[in-house]
Symmetry: C2
Subunit: 409 residues, 2 copies
């Protein structure tokens, strides 16, 4: 089967600058019987700092375990991404494949294996074939540098468009750039809605600060999106900073440009996260859920996720139905502090329920018009405190069922 | 739209005995523009004990709050069930409707309003019209006693079949009967997948013991089913015991017949719960998920629910796809203790993964045959401890999307 480009996809691929110290190459490892590049090899200059956030799944892939062990060392020389095989749930053989990849790259670059970061996405339960990985790597070593669009395309599985974003920021008088590529949320093979994202910057940043900034950004971006509530065994976000921009290194929050860098990274992560939702399986609406008035930000986040993951809310939006009763239900089931008689709900700019009561005779025309658009906003005010959160999701359509049930793996 | 009878429905309605001291009647309150009975009035003999379990939603209906206040008193004289309007999220006006119903019945039966239990199911956010409720009650007071099937039909909203079950048990030398009727999981109007269940027995049972037995049964039955993970604002199970069977009252676990009564009630609850799953929106498969080897029963329960609520697992079963990778994902995301390399998974009787590895060359024929049937069993062994749990759910199909998104409310 082929899946049409998501109706929520942006018009085109953005213009992205080269990042000094970052050299992407792609090759055909032929992990599946397809004729496309499926191995991405990104060489990173010596001195590159690294940070990452990884899936909390209790059944992670060996790649996730490898990255978790390597991240505390803070340095990176290469990234390898395999598409078409997630290598998850493959026991010692899966681990051996990751070690073989790291060893081959370490030999090529004359670096430590722990400087090589590896991610894989695709079918679960099939050990990544080491011979194909090694042949693919050798081809990549010899390949010319590729474009960001080629790299973004090569990490895709059943994504319907290449996803990338860029941010520029001045740090200590130097212009630095951040480029991110990401894949996720398209799936027909028997694997997860895997999300893999990679961010590259030429900034000089201490790994500890990079990690803090990335963790902080993650909480407000990737951790705030959901397509179907199903957490992958392979979710990985890695950020690499080559330090070639010439800025005085950012070592902590007091360094010149630290705040600017942190916000640029957070902004980049949010835009990358939105792209994943816009390629959500079967998505026809991009939904923003704003919760305020909760007892804490954490409580607001859990309530927002309860709404975003509710099949009844998601199908109502797919049906362009201002079904605020389902929002009430999702607030009620979240298990967080809520009082029915203080709860207010809006669709777009129109309040439909205030203080636990439907707004009688509210104007349905702007609500209907808002729901017909491709971007839908739902606002919930709990009326209890000052906690707030925003979560992004997509609707639940026949397309999701078609992708995940109609076609056998 | 009309929804076809669920393919998982039992062949017919069971033969149910009358329960001494229980007199059901139905009438047309016309809560919606339909020509069908939508108000159920069940008169209960003086001395009837009552117990109940109610939704944990933080935004419950006024009916749920009314029942929660009345249950500690332990006595009941009547049950009123309104179909077509859930009366949830309606503020003081909704509360006034419940009070008016209780007052009218109390006047008719010369009892306390707190002896009148009220449940409503249907559209949310519209106060139950008091005039229609009162006229409906007056019609019900004058109506002849009806059959259990009529009562089971009258509490339905978009259920596709009437749901009831019976159990008989000997308590202290007397044969006692338990009859349950239940509705839930069919929905096209803008309301929740509301579950309402009512159990009637002629046993003499102390309210405290009845409550303990019902709470216990609930944990292993209604709390172990899920259609879409969306918890209603109105979920209610009430059990009424008229004491007319002539048994020596069961006052605690040491009373004669206490164990027999408790298991009969638990068995009845499980069968009623299964009927709700079998009428799950769009369901084409009845799925049993057995988790064992967890660190505790509670942990096993949460893992089983994580599997049962996973859209990717549910769509895989709909597609008759032995996609055990999605089961691994759902175990991994549950946040409970799990070790990838001890995890084993079976479909039906066939092990497909053992100790964190796919069983190479397992016989796919029996797995495929099992998945083609209407009843699918998934077994997960975590290999950690002795905790176990069973959860029942249904698959996620185009029918679910059609019911909840294609038709506007």
């Amino acid at each position: 089967m082929s899946i049409a480009r998501s109706p929520l996809a942006p018009e085109g691929f953005p213009d992205l600058p080269a990042i000094a110290g970052v050299t992407p190459r792609v090759a055909r490892a032929r992990y599946k019987t397809w004729d496309r590049c499926d191995l991405t090899f990104v060489e990173l200059a010596p001195g590159t700092a690294v940070a990452g956030v990884l899936t909390k799944s209790r059944c992670p892939s060996p790649e996730v375990e490898w990255c978790r062990d390597a991240l505390p060392l803070g340095t990176a020389r290469a990234l390898v991404v395999n598409a078409g095989n997630s290598n998850a749930f493959t026991g010692n053989r899966g681990r051996a494949a990751v070690e073989a990849i790291a060893a081959r790259v370490a030999g090529h670059l004359d670096c430590q294996p722990s400087d090589v970061f590896v991610s894989s996405t695709g079918v679960i339960g099939v050990p990544l074939p080491i011979d194909k990985a090694e042949a693919g790597l050798d081809a990549a070593f010899a390949a010319p540098e590729c474009s960001w669009q080629d790299a973004a395309a090569t990490i895709m599985t059943t994504d319907t468009f290449e996803k990338a974003a860029v941010a520029n920021v001045v740090v200590g008088g130097k212009i630095i750039s951040l480029v991110g590529i990401i894949k996720g949320s398209g799936m027909i093979a028997p694997d997860m809605a895997t999300m893999l994202g990679f961010i590259f910057t030429d900034a000089a940043v201490d790994p500890a600060f990079l990690q803090a900034a990335l963790s902080d950004a993650n909480v407000r971006s990737f951790s705030c999106i959901t397509v179907d509530g199903d957490t992958s065994t392979s979710d990985t976000i890695l950020a690499f900073a080559t330090g070639q921009a010439g800025n005085a290194p950012i070592v902590d929050g007091n360094s010149p440009g630290a705040d600017a860098f942190r916000s640029a990274l957070a902004d980049l992560c949010t835009r990358l996260a939105h792209l994943v939702v816009r390629d959500g399986e079967g998505a026809s609406k991009f939904i923003t859920i704003d919760v305020e008035g909760a007892e804490s930000d954490e409580s607001a986040h859990r309530i927002a996720l309860s709404i975003a993951n509710s099949p009844l809310v998601k199908t109502a939006i797919a049906g362009e139905d201002a079904n605020w009763g389902r929002v009430v239900m999702a607030v009620g089931k979240a298990g967080e502090p809520a009082e029915r008689d203080r709860l207010s709900i809006r669709f777009g700019e129109t309040q439909v329920a205030v203080n636990g009561l439907a707004v009688e005779g509210y104007d349905e025309a702007p609500v209907a018009a808002h729901l017909k658009g491709s971007d839908v906003d739902i606002g919930v005010d709990l009326g209890l405190g000052s906690g707030r959160a925003t979560v992004w999701t997509c609707d639940l359509t026949h397309g999701y069922i078609a992708i995940n049930a109609d076609y056998r793996s």
